[in-house]
């Protein structure tokens, strides 16, 4: 590693001798030259901080998170920071170490109408004419480069080729000829329920995965305890993994990932409402803390909030075709555009429009809580999800049971003037829950009040706050409402700002008032 760095510095010397000093502190290579001055200072303070085991950090994390988000914001904010394609940045491009480069990746699958997977069927098929070959183009000429330490998102509909792309990256699928996939360092994929031998214990699985990921037994031996305690599975060390729940497995996978020395992580819908609130919080911390800094992440998710919060850049896959890469916010916009084009408008949309009520919520600094009452019945809730999409899209929701109290949580992504995100709603009242193995349907009981604690979190604010602090910052929520007069059926939004640990962090206390 040291050698590599020296080399790079040397290269730079030829072009820009001023970069030499800064190179030493470089952790993220993604800002433009204008920002260098600022960045160097920050990273100088960063690099003095010794790297710690994520476990040890936990106590400090809460407070650090806050700072971290603020520290990171200018980087995220730079509008012109990471457009590789722009020739303007050619200088800074030299300083970026490309860890993963994907060139000309296309993939076609050949499928027969009737399956042929035995020798008998194969012979039979030779004499049959009705079984036609179909080719499915899963990926069409995908090209992108991921820089070291970058978080790269891949978004698209179901069946748009996201998982195929990840499989190509991990090497379990071979793309069509003429492709080039280069990567530096080990790659690990994290997907739900994969990666473990169900018949052996957690300990053995840790050794197995760890050794494949390049850790020596000695190191693994030292890490086992902290992996298990991170995953909160100390009591199940010697239980075969087949007895684990999906949540436990993904916790274990994440704990191994975070302790291992893989350099590129592929997340395939990994953060999807699995793991209880506590663990989600923990994994989010990992993202804001040490884990995220040096590791490269390629993330596939339907959770646009997450993509927006975590990823620097993203590509959109539309039926195998690549759009982008763009900055993640832009990519999400593009994705939503594509979504509008491809999805047919639901017929009941007219009805909803008739009953549309829009509320401007304005931060006027006077009141403590934003309380707006509206009726969202059971059927309305589902409609709400639809009608809010795509400008306001609920992207994720789930139920967790903590000490017998059922907590529903879902994320709402609001498109606002200020890039404000609201996420992490928690419904703490009784809920009628219908849950199957993989999906959970939330049903609100119409009779009751729901207190919705809404965490206001956004990394995008600080810069704009600097500009807009004296102005009124508002956002608009369009909600379809059945009957506003029935105030008994109401939802209250308590906006809490501090001490929240999530991927996004609140930076300011928001005092919002409902205005009709």
């Amino acid at each position: 590693m040291a050698k590599k760095n020296r080399k790079k510095v040397h290269k730079r010397k030829n072009k820009h001798s001023t970069f030499d000093e800064k190179a030493r502190f470089r952790t993220k290579d993604k800002i433009s030259t204008q920002n260098d001055q600022l960045k160097t200072k920050k990273n100088a303070s960063n690099s003095e901080k010794p790297k710690q085991n994520p476990l040890k950090n936990q106590a400090e994390v809460n407070s650090k998170n806050f700072e971290k988000a603020r520290r990171n914001t200018p980087v995220n904010q730079q509008e012109d920071s990471i457009h590789i394609s722009e020739p303007l940045n050619s200088q800074s491009q030299n300083r970026k170490e490309v860890v993963l480069s994907v060139k000309n990746v296309s993939k076609t699958f050949e499928i027969r109408e009737k399956r042929v997977d035995t020798l008998r069927e194969y012979v039979y098929n030779l004499f049959r004419k009705d079984n036609k070959k179909k080719t499915i183009q899963a990926l069409k000429d995908v090209n992108f480069e991921v820089i070291k330490g970058e978080k790269f998102g891949i978004i698209g509909h179901n069946g748009s080729g996201k998982s195929t792309l990840l499989r190509c990256l991990i090497g379990s699928l071979e793309p069509n000829k003429g492709y080039e996939i280069e990567h530096k360092g080990r790659i690990m994929k994290l997907a739900l329920g994969a990666g473990f031998d169900p018949n052996i214990t957690a300990r053995e699985n840790i050794y197995l995965n760890g050794s494949i990921l390049g850790l020596s037994f000695k190191k693994i031996g030292n890490l086992v305890d902290s992996i298990l305690s991170y995953a909160e599975l100390e009591d199940f060390i010697d239980t075969p993994v087949k007895f684990y729940s999906a949540g436990m497995r993904s916790r274990l996978a994440f704990a191994i990932a975070i302790h291992s020395e893989a350099e590129i992580y592929l997340f395939d819908e990994f953060f999807g409402g699995v793991g209880d609130v506590g663990f989600q919080r923990k994994s989010n911390q990992a993202f804001t803390e040490t884990f995220i800094d040096n590791k490269t992440v390629v993330m596939v998710s339907h959770n646009l909030n997450l993509i927006k919060a975590v990823c620097d850049r993203a590509i959109v896959l539309n039926k195998g075709e690549q759009i982008g890469p763009f900055k993640s916010e832009v990519a999400i916009e593009k994705y939503l555009q594509v979504f509008n084009e491809t999805s047919e408008k639901p017929p009941e949309k007219k009805k909803i429009n008739n009953r549309k009520h829009s509320a401007d919520v304005i931060n006027d600094g006077s009141s403590q809580n934003l309380i707006f009452s509206t009726d969202i019945g059971r059927s309305e809730y589902m409609k709400l999800r639809q009608s809010l999409s795509p400008s306001v899209a609920t992207t994720q929701y789930g139920i967790t049971d903590i000490n017998g109290i059922k907590i529903g949580h879902f994320d709402i992504n609001l498109e606002t003037k200020t890039d404000l995100c609201i996420s992490g709603f928690a419904l703490t009242q009784e809920l009628n829950i219908k849950s199957s193995a993989h999906s959970i349907i939330l049903r609100l009981n119409e009779e009751k009040f729901y207190k919705v604690n809404c965490d206001l979190k956004t990394p995008y604010l600080s810069k704009r706050l600097g500009i807009n602090i004296h102005e009124k910052i508002g956002f608009k929520i369009n909600i379809s409402v059945k009957d506003l007069k029935e105030k008994n059926n109401s939802i209250k939004f308590d906006i809490i700002s501090s001490d929240l640990t999530s991927i996004l962090n609140p930076l300011k206390k928001w005092n919002l008032k409902y205005k009709q």
Binding site: Y122, A191, G195, I200
Partner: protein, 267 residues
């Protein structure tokens, strides 16, 4: 597992701090463990099994059928464990891509490691068998010679052939599920023609071409030479068997590296 760890644990310390070797060892260990039920007593079965089998052979062939060949129980067991090793390597290898799919899908690594690991886990099984065999041969007073030390050569030869075939089969298995049954049949046929039940010297005199074409005849003959008859290797036969091994391994590896990725699509 306690017993295996106790017996094989010391070997672990001998392993260099090389990640690849450790990985291969770990996969082999888990493989073996899973086969023997995951506990100490399970591993005991690995020892009890060969003792029991030799006793049965002795009872049936010596006492009931009164076969005149000297030490027929050992003679038989000899061939059977060698052929069993071959069968296990090929059959296990055939299923490897599917059985270890969860790893291939998750982490990028050299898939051929899996085959090496599998061979090692089969070798651990062989180790128990040969332990039982040697014990019994000492008990029954069969003189052991220094030729026993040549056994690893035979084993490597078997593994080369087995892994080569395993490479091919594992790819075929994904395209054609029923290859499993076909291979079972072939193995059964091989069991009866590879000179397990009779002394293949007869075969060698009558049909030398057959002996050269079927490497297992030579391998089983050699195993007996080393363990039972106190004889060395036939250089001609040994080199032809080695050639078999190299050819199988090379062809298998070429087919595997060319088609395994394509086959993995279908999993």
């Amino acid at each position: 597992m306690g017993l295996v760890n106790r017996i094989l644990g010391p070997f672990l310390l001998l392993l260099p701090d090389n990640n690849r070797i450790q990985r291969i060892w770990k996969i082999a260990q888990i493989d073996f463990k899973k086969r023997y039920y995951n506990d100490s007593f399970g591993v005991l079965w690995a020892l009890i099994n060969p003792f029991f089998r030799i006793s049965i052979y002795y009872f049936v062939f010596k006492t009931i059928m009164n076969v005149q060949i000297e030490n027929y129980a050992l003679f038989l067991f000899n061939g059977i464990i060698m052929y069993g090793t071959f069968g296990e390597v090929t059959k296990g290898g055939m299923n490897l891509l599917q059985a270890k799919g969860y790893l291939i899908e998750t982490i990028k690594f050299d898939i051929t490691d899996l085959y090496i690991s599998h061979s090692i886990s089969v070798l651990i099984g062989f180790f128990y068998n040969i332990l039982a065999y040697l014990l019994i041969s000492v008990i029954t007073g069969v003189a052991l010679t220094w030729y026993v030390l040549l056994l690893p050569f035979i084993l490597i030869n078997v593994l080369m052939i087995g892994v080569g075939i395993g490479f091919i089969l594992s790819v075929l298995k994904i395209y054609f599920k029923d290859i499993k049954h076909i291979w079972d049949l072939l193995l059964l046929a091989g069991f009866w023609v590879s000179g397990i039940f009779f002394n293949s010297e007869v075969l060698f005199e009558k049909y030398p071409v057959f002996v050269y074409a079927n490497p297992l005849v030579g391998i089983i003959q050699h195993t007996r030479n080393l363990l039972l008859f106190g004889k060395g290797l036939d250089p001609m036969l040994a080199s032809i068997n080695l050639l078999h091994g190299i050819i199988f391994l090379v062809i298998g590896y070429i087919i595997f590296s060319k088609y395994s990725k394509k086959a993995l699509e279908k999993i």
